[in-house]
């Protein structure tokens, strides 16, 4: 239950709605019981007398209780759902507050793209907490306790039967099944993950599997995994059904004992027979309400796991960061013998890299994919911490700087740049809130996006923009930032070479004295760079100005030859 403490606190923050929902839930339950009780009592009474008043009272009671029950149920649903959605909003905000300090480092650690979808799913999952986990037992307990009070007025023993029935149906049975659920749940999850992995392999590897004639074997495997998952689900279904049946059985059994005991007391003369039908009807009515408890174990377990997973994500230690500010003068960047290995990988992604980026210099980092270019940039941004060696900016060691202050001084374009649902304007304002429309339009013109209107719509993830447009928009954002240190990771890889050249020209003209670090696997247009760094397998294999390394006829020269020979 500790996992759900946070969720509970967030839920209880919506005091008014939760209290109203509980109140109306109670009212609906108790009015339903009262309806049945009064009909039982009045039929018994009617059997004995022939007074018209009985009939009138009967009609009035039935109408009243019926109406109250139905309306309360409606109000209960409204308030409980309102509280749920408000709670969901609190949950999102509170989770975001916790996740934000961990970004972007955490996205490097979990390299799988489904981390975010999982987070969103788990948060969504917790919306069941109020409706299916917290709320039903609370309301039921109040309804039961009131009923027990009422019945104890007629017969203490019968009240005790109801009490035992209540403890069994809303405490004991759900608890046992929640405990059993733990095992089943993880087995279902595991077999689902296996099937998903196997299916992905099957589809991605289709051509190779076909040619190597492994398709049938793999298909067999896939079918086996699918059946295993199906069997696990079947087991889960059986368990839910068993829980439901046991709960229903206990509920009916309670009414059985109420009747048996009542009949005995009436026969023995300890209870007026007039009340027997009423007590039986009450028992049938209140135990009818316990049905939601049958799904409690599954939801409880699901919520508990979701909360635990979310906790795990945000309980990552925050990467130690300093709070020093950057000196205001132009920034000199130095890397000395820096190495980095990704967690759970054997080989170093960056191996003993030393490098100096002088203020105002223009550096290109080139090399094949997987050679460590982007990792190097992540290290420079202090998104990844170097395992060994030192990185310093303006004489300050990177580790001592406040990362947010560091980023404030940079114009960064990453390989993947996010664009938010909104407009071109709202996406540009992220870089600089004070930017005027004229400034934004000028920035767009510089990246050859002049025809774009600031109020054009941008869909989620910028899905309505082409790859090249997104890259250019990201550069426009960097331009609006207006700092003097540029870190660009493959900024124009999807832009045609003529436009790319024009953009670079604009950037270099405007930022004559700025420091540029550009990662590129495209080797053209690097003539104007002060320094070209060639990386291969995490190491710098060649460095120097364009002319110099071309003359050497080393790595860069050969790469250039290959690139020239590519027949696109």
């Amino acid at each position: 239950m500790t996992e759900l403490k946070q969720t509970l606190l967030l839920t209880l923050r919506e005091k008014r709605d939760v209290a109203l929902a509980i109140f109306f839930g109670f009212l609906a339950g108790i009015a339903g019981a009262a309806l049945m009780a009064s009909s039982g009592y009045l039929i018994s009474k009617a059997a004995l007398t022939s007074q018209m008043t009985i009939l009138i009272v009967m009609g009035a009671c039935l109408k009243l209780f019926g109406l109250v029950s139905a309306l309360s149920r409606y109000a209960e649903r409204l308030f409980s759902h309102r509280a749920t959605f408000t709670m969901l909003s609190n949950l999102r905000v509170s989770f975001f507050e916790k996740l934000s300090p961990l970004a972007p480092g955490i996205f490097q650690k979990y390299r799988s793209g489904d981390l975010l979808a999982r987070i969103v799913g788990d948060v969504e999952n917790l919306q069941n907490f109020l409706l299916r986990v917290f709320y039903p037992p609370v309301v039921l307990a109040i309804v039961f306790i009131s009923t027990i009070f009422f019945t104890s007025y007629f017969s203490f023993a019968i009240a005790m039967v109801v009490l035992v029935g209540m403890l069994l149906t809303i405490v004991a049975v759900p608890a046992i099944f929640a405990w059993r659920q733990r095992r089943i749940d993880s087995a279902v999850r595991a077999s689902r993950a296996e099937l998903s992995t196997e299916a992905t392999e099957f589809l991605y590897g289709f051509r190779d599997l076909k040619i190597y004639q492994q398709l049938d074997r793999k298909k067999q495997d896939l079918t086996t995994f699918s059946e295993r998952y199906g069997e696990q689900q079947r087991k889960e279904g059986f368990e839910e059904n068993l829980g439901q049946s046991v709960n229903a059985f206990v509920a009916l059994l309670a009414s059985f004992f109420v009747l048996g005991l009542g009949a005995y007391f009436v026969a023995e003369g300890q209870l007026d027979g007039l009340y027997l039908a009423m007590l039986v009807m009450i028992s049938l009515a209140v135990f009818e309400n316990v049905a939601p408890m049958a799904v409690f174990p599954a939801h409880f377990e699901e919520n508990r796991k979701a909360a635990a997973r979310l906790d795990q994500v945000v309980s990552e230690p925050v990467q130690a960061a300093g709070d020093a500010e950057l000196p205001l003068n132009t920034l000199d960047i130095k890397l000395e013998n820096v190495s980095y290995t990704y967690p759970e990988e054997e080989r170093q992604a960056i191996e003993g890299v030393s490098l100096r980026l002088a203020p105002g210099s223009k550096t290109a980092i080139v090399g094949p994919s997987g050679s460590g270019k982007s990792t190097l940039l992540q290290l420079l941004l202090n998104i990844l911490p170097a395992d060994s060696g030192t990185i310093s900016i303006g004489g300050e060691p990177l580790a001592a700087l406040d990362p947010e202050k560091l980023w404030q001084r940079m114009n960064v374009v990453l390989q993947e740049n996010h664009f938010f649902f909104g407009t071109i304007r709202s996406n540009l304002l992220i870089a600089n809130e004070a930017a005027t429309d004229e400034e934004m339009e000028a920035a767009l013109a510089k990246v050859q996006l002049g025809p774009f209107s600031l109020s054009s719509k941008v869909n989620e993830k910028g899905e309505n923009l082409s790859g090249g447009e997104k890259q250019r928009l990201a550069i426009a954002r960097a331009i609006l930032r207006g700092e003097s240190l540029w870190l660009l990771d493959e900024p124009v890889s999807s832009v045609d070479s003529v436009t790319a050249k024009a953009i670079y020209r604009q950037l270099f003209e405007r930022g004559k004295d700025d420091t540029f670090v550009i990662i590129s696997h495209d080797l053209t247009g690097l003539e104007q760079m002060d320094q070209i760094i060639v990386m291969e397998r995490g190491r710098i294999v060649e460095a120097g100005p364009y002319e110099e390394i071309m003359e050497k006829q080393g790595h860069f020269f050969k790469l250039k030859q290959i690139e020239k020979s590519i027949f696109a």
Binding site: R82, K210, R234, A263
Partner: protein, 574 residues
């Protein structure tokens, strides 16, 4: 069309069992009410002793037991039904994935297909495990209850018959209104619900621009807007439950009044009958209520069923095979009017060309010109729309599938490595048990021996899904090692465009030359040296054969080829 109801009725045994169990459950419900009333009536009005009603208590216990047992059996059958239908559908889906020859060309949609196999099928669960059992019960039990009510007191039956039909009518009315509301709010709902994910996805960008804190308000605002939009829809949905409850309450009120009137004023009804009817009537309306909620669960499955239908109905012709066998020598290949068409949009061919044994054959053209599709068609991965690939004079369709693929290697830009050891990944090429020596030799020839040797576990090193942990060049070299182990007589090669390190580049060239000693090599070429050395070059343009011949032939006869080369020599557009 995946007809869900039909899928259920196909499982006759389960359905028959559901009907029988429902009937028994209905009988148990009636029995339970009967015993309740007998006992209450006995001790209350007939002054029976406890011993006299004891047999009824046993009877009541029996009825309760039967009711719960039937409920359990019905639930279990529902779960079984759902499990069987789901497993069956998954089997069908897997078979359709496996037999679809286009699979190789449309890898991009893999994510969707996995979701189809897992999520869409799971979404059908509610229909079979909840809706169908409830539906069967709703066919039988209310009718049983109604029959008993009629037999006891026909007026009550008539009142039910008059009031009950209002329930579906009102439900339908409210349902239509809810749908209208939902449609109105649809855009808002989609927009707000996505904000959280949108902000999380953009968190890196936000952090770099120091905007993260500001987004807290955005999340909160959109979540609350989402709440308000949803509540609008829910309000009318809840109204339908209110309607249902109100009508059943009203109906029960009228019945109680009528019974009371007879009981009090006319004395024409016994306590027994009155109490019995008063227990059965709520049961009747509860059945309708349960059906209402199960109906919603069932409705939720329709969208998933449509997605599945859309996939399963798409039929693609299979690649045909025969019984002929191939020798180990490279065959003579002849493409005769080879055409392949998929949908309206793209057509490849007709293409006529000859590929001689041991020759180096290159295919070039702009991206989207159909180079890879042609390679797939030659490989026998795609069914030809018309024309033929003749192998040593006989149609490829006459050749045994295994015999053909035994002679073929395909090295793509992104070879697929499955989760397993390096050894397993190379050995897959042999199609048989291969000795470690052979595998080391193949690895060495592919230029990856040294790298593998340097690993702690050597050939037994685990490589993750899709070869995680290896660079692009290393993956290529593992694919080459597969080919060296296999020693095929036809090598199909889709050249990588960019991003290889110099060593891999060198090894690729050597390896292709080495493999070419024993085989015909057909290359989708991106590199000049491949083209120049080729015995024949085929130029594709928008799926059509633009020109063919050797490097020198083309230079003389096909002017655009010269232009293409010139551009390359001069570097990319200056």
């Amino acid at each position: 069309m995946v007809d869900l109801k039909q899928l259920a009725y196909e499982r006759k045994n389960i359905m028959a069992f559901l009907f029988i169990a429902s009937f028994l459950k209905g009988a148990a419900m009636i029995g339970q009410a009967l015993f309740f009333v007998w006992i209450a009536d006995g001790v209350f009005l007939k002054n029976a002793s406890f011993e006299e009603v004891l047999p009824y208590l046993y009877g009541l216990f029996g009825a309760i037991l039967l009711r719960v047992a039937c409920g359990y059996a019905i639930g279990r059958s529902g779960v079984n039904l759902a499990a069987e239908v789901k497993m069956d559908l998954r089997k069908k889906l897997i078979a359709s994935f496996a037999s679809n020859p286009l699979q190789a060309s449309i890898q991009g949609q893999s994510g969707q297909k996995v979701s189809l196999l897992l999520d869409a099928v799971d979404e059908l669960d509610g229909y079979f495990s909840k809706y169908i059992p409830q539906m069967v019960q709703s066919y039988i039990i209310p009718i049983l209850l109604l029959a008993v009510i009629f037999s006891q007191h026909w007026v009550t039956g008539v009142i039910i018959l008059i009031t009950a039909p209002f329930i579906p009518v009102f439900m339908a009315l409210v349902g239509i209104k809810t749908k209208e509301k939902a449609d109105q709010q649809m855009e808002k709902l989609g927009q707000f619900s996505g904000t959280f994910l949108d902000v999380l996805q953009g968190l890196t960008t936000l952090k770099l621009f120091n905007q993260a804190d500001r987004q807290k308000q955005t999340i909160q605002k959109s979540s609350l807007d989402f709440r308000d939009a949803t509540m609008e829809v829910l309000k009318s949905a809840f109204l339908s439950s209110l309607m249902l409850e109100y009508i059943s309450m009203l109906s029960m009120g009228i019945i109680a009044l009528e019974i009371g009137l007879r009981l009090v004023v006319f004395d024409s009804l016994t306590f027994f009958t009155a109490f019995f009817v008063m227990i059965l009537v709520p049961d009747f309306f509860n059945m309708l209520k349960d059906f209402g909620s199960a109906f919603h669960t069932g409705k939720g499955s329709t969208a998933a069923a449509n997605r599945l239908s859309a996939h399963l109905e798409k039929e693609t012709p299979a690649v045909e095979w025969g019984a002929g066998t191939l020798s180990n020598d490279p065959p003579h290949l002849l493409l005769q009017d080879l055409t392949f068409q998929y949908g309206e949009s793209f057509k490849l061919g007709p293409i006529n060309t000859e590929i001689l044994p041991y020759s180096q054959f290159a295919i070039i053209g702009k991206s989207g010109s159909g180079k890879t599709t042609l390679l797939h068609a030659i490989a026998g991965l795609l069914p030809l729309s018309s024309g033929a690939v003749r192998v040593n004079g006989i149609s490829r369709e006459q050749i045994d599938e295994k015999s053909w693929f035994d002679q073929l290697s395909y090295i793509s830009q992104s070879p697929y490595l499955f989760a397993g050891t390096i050894k397993e990944n190379i050995a897959i090429g042999a199609g048989r048990e291969a000795a470690d020596d052979e595998i080391w030799e193949a690895a060495a020839k592919a230029g990856i021996g040294e790298m593998v040797g340097s690993l702690k576990h050597g050939l037994d090193t685990q490589i993750g899904e899709a070869g995680r942990g290896l660079s692009g060049g290393e993956k290529q070299r593992i694919a080459l090692a597969r080919a060296f182990l296999k020693q095929p007589s036809i090598v199909l090669f889709d050249e990588p465009t960019t991003g290889l390190d110099l060593q891999t580049e060198k090894i690729l060239q050597q390896s292709i030359a080495e493999l070419g000693k024993q085989a015909t090599v057909i290359t989708v070429a991106h590199r000049l040296h491949t083209i120049k050395q080729s015995d024949a070059i085929l130029i594709l343009s928008e799926g059509q054969l633009a020109a063919a011949g050797s490097h020198n032939d083309l230079l003389e006869t096909y002017a655009p080829y010269g232009v293409m080369l010139e551009i390359q020599h001069g570097g990319i557009v200056q």
